[in-house]
């Protein structure tokens, strides 16, 4: 059981602060996802918690205890990496037994067998136990790596992009499996990724990290629907949220060179803003408001993603797969006024 807290933690490499005054609170039994672009400081944060790096400043607590003086092994957290670090010439069973054989742990053979059996059942790798790890597929290897973390029964699991070397189909199924696993084990999971779909689909909470600082922490729903600024708004969601300059005056929003005019749903201060709207909040069809040029149509099976152009402004809308749309043709669209996001034109901060 472990509640993890970071209080104003800073870690510098040379002059560069990889983690910069980071404060984070991960509840016991929570699936917390740290999401951010390459170089945001995600992996450094994980390594600081694991005890593989020492912070230059700030405090790290695991289960309300300051762990500054504790070695990595004393912290009793398990790390799962992007690259499965298994012993290639050993069987799956030997790989799983390995972390339990250390003198510090002092497990009896009966207990080792029992823990392996339990982990194998949870991860559905029972049939692979006697197989050498170099004869496993990527997905199986990653399950075994996770198994090696599970048998230790650690206080928390720290996962560093464990799905990113797997192909799309496998990632999709392991996503659901990992989430299920966490619900079953009821352990604290800290999962690091740059993939917003992983973050949204698995996290109880998502923390968005950029340049060593937390930008926003919230449920997937909050992150997606109430982004704090343009960075968060554009980092989650696919296709990316559409952003465009607009003018707010007398309760109306005007955009697209005056071609689009909608009633602002809430009272807003007047002046220049950046508006954001997600593709699914733009409706396309013969009865809609404004005409646009069709720049591209992508068939995604379940729906179409259409890139529209009005003058020099491009934006993407989601259309039903049955709607006939021709590239370089024309179509009408409307924005759903309730789903507009307003950002400060200069700072990018949400004005909601």
């Amino acid at each position: 059981m472990a509640h993890i807290r970071l209080d104003n933690v800073t870690k510098k490499f040379g002059l560069h602060a990889a983690v910069d005054g980071l404060t984070l609170d991960i509840a016991d039994g929570e699936f917390f996802v740290l999401l951010g672009p390459t170089g945001a400081g995600k992996t450094t944060t994980l390594r600081l918690i694991a005890g593989l790096e020492k912070p230059d400043d700030g405090k790290i607590e695991i289960a309300d205890q300051d762990v500054h003086q504790w070695s990595a092994s004393e912290r009793d957290v398990a790390l799962v990496f992007q690259y499965y670090s298994l012993y290639p010439r050993y069987t799956v069973r030997q790989n799983l037994a390995f972390p339990l054989k250390s003198n510090a742990r002092n497990c009896s053979q009966a207990e080792i067998d029992e823990r392996i059996a339990r982990a194998a059942k949870t991860l559905r790798i029972g049939h692979l136990l006697e197989r050498k790890t170099d004869r496993l597929s990527g997905g199986e290897m990653q399950r075994v790596s996770i198994g090696r973390a599970i048998v230790r029964e650690p206080r928390a699991f720290l996962m560093d992009e464990p799905l990113s070397n797997l192909d799309a189909k496998l990632r999709e199924s392991l996503r659901a499996e990992l989430k299920e696993l966490q619900m079953k084990l009821k352990s604290t999971f800290l999962f690091v990724t740059h993939d917003q779909i992983e973050a949204m689909s698995m996290g109880d909470k998502v923390g968005i990290l950029n340049e060593g600082k937390i930008v926003q922490v919230g449920t997937p729903y909050e992150i997606y629907n109430k982004p704090k600024n343009i960075f968060v708004a554009s980092f989650v969601g696919s296709p990316s949220i559409n952003l465009m300059p607009a003018e707010l005056a007398n309760g109306h929003v005007t955009a697209l060179s005056g071609k689009l005019k909608i009633v602002a749903p809430r009272s807003k201060t007047n002046g220049a803003v950046t508006i954001g709207i997600r593709s699914e909040d733009i409706t396309v069809g013969p009865k809609e408001q404004v005409a646009a040029h069709i720049h591209d149509v992508e068939n995604h099976g379940v729906e179409k993603i259409v890139t529209l152009r009005v003058d020099d402004q491009f934006f993407k809308a989601t259309a039903p797969s049955s709607l006939e749309l021709k590239i370089d043709g024309t179509v009408k669209f409307s924005f759903n006024p309730d789903k507009l996001h307003f950002f400060d034109a200069a700072s990018g901060a949400s004005r909601a």
Binding site: T38, A168, S201, N299
Partner: protein
């Protein structure tokens, strides 16, 4: 002009049979995507067209002429790789101009061509830079520019976006499609990413273990998959698949997934279709959007439990427990409130696919003629 015909192509690597009697015609100006998992033979096929790989039997024809005897350089085909393969010591301009060095073109004509290509790729401002000073997406734009500058008959691309991050891939997809429309060069594109294939292709050729599984438009392969492999390879989240039993029940038929689960209602005509198709064991497939979910008890719907919820922002993917079987549904964001909730579900007959379990082939039963 370029029409590419592959006729009975076979290829072995030692004892491994990597391409098995492949037949495919790529029409003039067409954008065909070879899609499949790693090791399915798609890259080998592409390399054979390029002349980078010999085939063991069969013919490759470009505009009606067999090309097996031609060197790669004589096939008038441009190749773009996943890794950018630019000359590090040359500027973007020099990299793009490189393929023209052997032609006897004037400096002015070379410059005009390089600038025209750079303009269509929107990299004019980068022409003076070396590759090391370019971002990944720009490097790939330069690589594509180098392929385009010769105005080749055909463009062959091997996972050209594989090394780019998700956001950039999204942008590059649109650019590449526009570029294809403007240049009208016949394009063969290899990828394992079904979203890329669906978004870019006029037609998709899906391969598995060296065997061509289906060739069709994105609509065909998504809505009318020829077999279980195609059904599960295309579409995300993956199509639900389960063994099923069907029996008649008055004016309707009942379809049960596994034992003990409450059966789903289907039109009575399903029984006739199944007997016409001479199906043995039956596997049904249904995409998450074909699983209809209701918060309230509804006629024709079966009670189920929410096992897992994946909120994806624009919509949710909900794993429903139907007896011992999990079925994934796509719902509006937040529609199913929490894990463990009881809801009601129905399989939309128009969106249900039927396969022969043994052969894995589609039985080509379409219950209601929907939009597709």
């Amino acid at each position: 002009m370029a029409e590419i015909i592959l006729r009975d192509i076979e290829k072995y690597f030692g004892a491994v049979y990597v391409i098995r009697k492949l037949n495919l015609t790529i029409k003039h100006r067409e954008f065909v995507v070879l899609l499949g998992p790693s090791g399915c033979g798609k890259t080998t096929t592409l390399r054979a067209v390029a002349g980078l790989e010999d085939v063991d039997s069969g013919d490759i024809l470009i505009d009606g002429k067999p090309v097996q005897q031609l060197e790669a350089g004589d096939r008038d085909i441009a190749f773009v790789f996943q890794l950018f393969a630019l000359y590090p010591h040359l500027t973007a301009y020099e990299n793009i101009a490189f393929p023209l060095r052997a032609t006897s073109e004037s400096k002015a004509s070379v410059e005009a061509k390089v600038r025209a290509v750079a303009k269509s790729l929107q990299i004019e401002h980068l022409l003076g830079k070396r590759p090391s000073a370019l971002a990944g997406g720009d490097m790939q734009r330069v690589a594509i520019g180098r392929a385009l500058v010769r105005r080749p008959k055909a463009m062959l691309m091997d996972e050209p976006m594989g090394a780019l991050d998700a956001k950039l891939r999204e942008e590059m997809r649109t650019e590449l499609k526009r570029l294809h429309l403007e240049n009208e060069s016949t394009t063969v594109y290899v990828t394992h990413d079904q979203v890329e294939a669906m978004s870019l292709a006029d037609r998709i050729a899906i391969m598995n273990e060296g065997v061509l599984q289906q060739v069709g438009t994105p609509d065909d392969v998504y809505h009318r998959p020829a077999n279980l492999f195609v059904a599960q390879f295309v579409g995300s989240p993956v199509m639900n698949i389960a063994a099923a039993n069907v029996k008649a029940d008055g004016s309707r038929s009942l379809l049960a997934l596994g034992k003990g689960a409450a059966p789903f209602e289907f039109p009575k005509s399903l029984i006739r279709h199944l007997s016409d198709a001479k199906a043995n064991d039956l596997t049904v497939g249904i995409r998450p959007e074909g699983v209809l979910v209701s918060q309230t008890e509804t006629a024709g719907y079966v009670p189920v439990t929410a096992h897992l919820i994946e909120p994806l922002g624009a919509y949710d993917i909900v794993d429903l427990k139907v007896g011992a079987q999990l079925v994934r549904a796509r719902t509006a964001s937040g529609y199913v409130s929490k894990v463990g909730a009881r809801v009601w579900a129905r399989l939309d007959p128009a969106q249900t696919h039927f396969f022969d379990t043994r052969t894995t082939d589609s039985l080509r039963i379409r219950l209601v003629d929907g939009a597709h």
